[in-house]
Amino acid sequence: MSRAEDISAALLAQMLDAGAQRVTPDILQPAETLLDLYGEDIRARAYVTHDPALGEMMLRPDFTVPVVQAHMADGAEPARYAYSGAVFRKQSASRAREYLQVGYELFARDTAAQADAEVFALFARLLEGHALRPVTGDMGIVKAAVLGLSTTERRRAALLRHIWRPKRFRALLERMRGQGPLAADRAALVDRLRAAPVAELIAEAGPQLGLRGADEIAARVAALLEDASAAPIPDDQAQALEALLSLAAPARAALAQMRGMGWAAITPALDRLEARLAALDAKGINTETLPFEASFGRTNMEYYDGFVFGFLARDDLPPVATGGRYDALTAVLGQGRAIPAVGGVIRPDMLAALEDAQ
């Protein structure tokens, strides 16, 4: 066995000791669910193959989705699961295409703060002695801040949809403040759309073609005209949001700073953060020094929607471990049923490489 496999086996054993039940999802997963969740990004990153009977299949790019599916199908509550095995990702250049993951997932209702703290404290204990830098964040606070903007429902939804794409998010926010190139393009488009009734504009343009019907075009034109008369997002709110997104401080200090912003919309989310910090304290984590970065998890961790965390060896390498809360994902995969869930994965290959480097 390679060193990474030894580390993997030891980590899995400790997770089972912590009360988890072992699960062993198949390597071949139906592609449809993953494609529907992640779109083209996953097609670029995952190995897709074809089965004559089952259709498009994927070499599992992660364990979370099959573990959630298995739990939604026949899991008891609360439940703790652990797993280990290879995942497969297309990579540029020299990074590993096939590497091990060991993970732990906790499904439990009504005890979010305790569940978050249990998972983080377990990972902190398992990774002790590896000289890793922990980072925490909270997508729930970011979402609450967006939902608290004084603007239309449609604009808030558009911003939420792009919360994981920081560049696009910033461009949208700029447009909604009436600034930047997108705002100029939009104003010109709205002028043209005001020139005549939409049915006339469509008829003038040419013959109707394709699946997107005239009613869909008309609906978006109506939405554009309505949006054009909405007031810009106020500067002070946009600046507060930017300040929040760039916040990086020890967790307790970060909490105090965010409380100091006096922003009522994020108060419930801050209360949840405070409860989590208390639960972490109770688990022996020093929240006076624990790093908190409000934007951590905003890129390539699309399904996390609350607490997020990572353990990093170096800033230029992928994190050795990542995790977080993904309540919304269970709702999507549960087709209406949902259960709060939090979990994370460790990459034993990276731990082995760190040992070698020492």
Binding site: A44, A93, A158, H162, R165, A171, L189, I202, P207
Partner: protein, 239 residues
């Protein structure tokens, strides 16, 4: 020792490549019968002409089986993952211009930019239960472009030809294809999205970073000096 130069084996791309080299004192010619893919080079010693399909030249460069090759910059970027690690651009040759663009039906009066396409894709997915389909054969270039611009809720569907017809056939809602004049698009009642194209392609002389240059380096120096292009330090071998 010889340096292998790959050039498109037929059509206007071959003729224009021959003209480009001839204007710089390197005479390329086909030898044998018109159907035989063999060639000769006059003007510099030690260069062997290899006639290949333009679409195979990126792969041959990346495999190191040819040292230099002429092909479209779109093909190199589409075919080779992390292309800049496999090949270096020596010269843009000024012909074979074509833009890779995104196009939607002209009746989409509400869609002019990628910003609009993204919003339309979100509404389309909510309405139809699947992601808005974009037909193309340039998957890598289009996906990277849309990712860089933060477009979501789309999917790429493969189309190796007659891409403009996919919308009429209800197998796609939008297309991404190569165009030089836009005539085919207009004939199919499609319009190009505003803003920079996905990629502006032209015939380009590439050098392989992965070929064996141990003996060919001296020939390369003669070729680049004859062609009047600076021999960049980034040209192989770096391995």
């Amino acid at each position: 020792m010889t340096l292998k130069l790959g050039v498109p084996s037929k059509g206007r791309l071959m003729e224009q490549s021959f003209d480009w080299f001839a204007a710089r004192g390197l005479t390329l010619s086909r030898t044998g019968s018109a159907r035989e893919y063999a060639g000769a080079v006059d003007g510099v010693d030690g260069v062997e002409l290899v006639l290949l399909s333009a679409s195979e030249i990126p792969r041959e460069l990346a495999a190191g089986r040819i040292h230099l090759g002429v092909t479209g910059s779109d093909l190199v970027r589409e075919t080779l993952p992390d292309w800049a690690a496999s090949v270096a651009e020596l010269a843009q040759m000024g012909f074979g211009h074509a833009d890779l663009i995104l196009a939607v039906p002209v009746t989409w009066v509400d869609v002019e930019t990628l910003d609009d396409l993204d919003a339309a894709a979100a509404a389309f997915r909510a309405r139809h239960g699947f992601r808005l389909r974009i037909a193309t054969k340039y998957h890598r270039l289009v996906r990277e472009h849309l990712r860089a611009h933060g477009v979501a809720d789309y999917q790429l569907v493969d189309s190796q030809g007659a891409t403009e017809g996919t919308i009429r056939n209800l197998t796609a809602e939008a297309v991404a294809d190569i165009t030089s004049t836009g005539e085919t698009l207009r004939a199919n009642h499609l319009k190009i999205l505003k803003g920079a194209p996905v990629h502006q392609s032209q015939a380009t002389l590439f050098a392989s970073r992965l070929a064996d240059w141990s003996d060919a380096r001296a020939v390369l120096a003669r070729v680049t000096s004859q062609l009047g292009i600076g021999q960049s330090d980034s040209i192989p071998p770096l391995l």
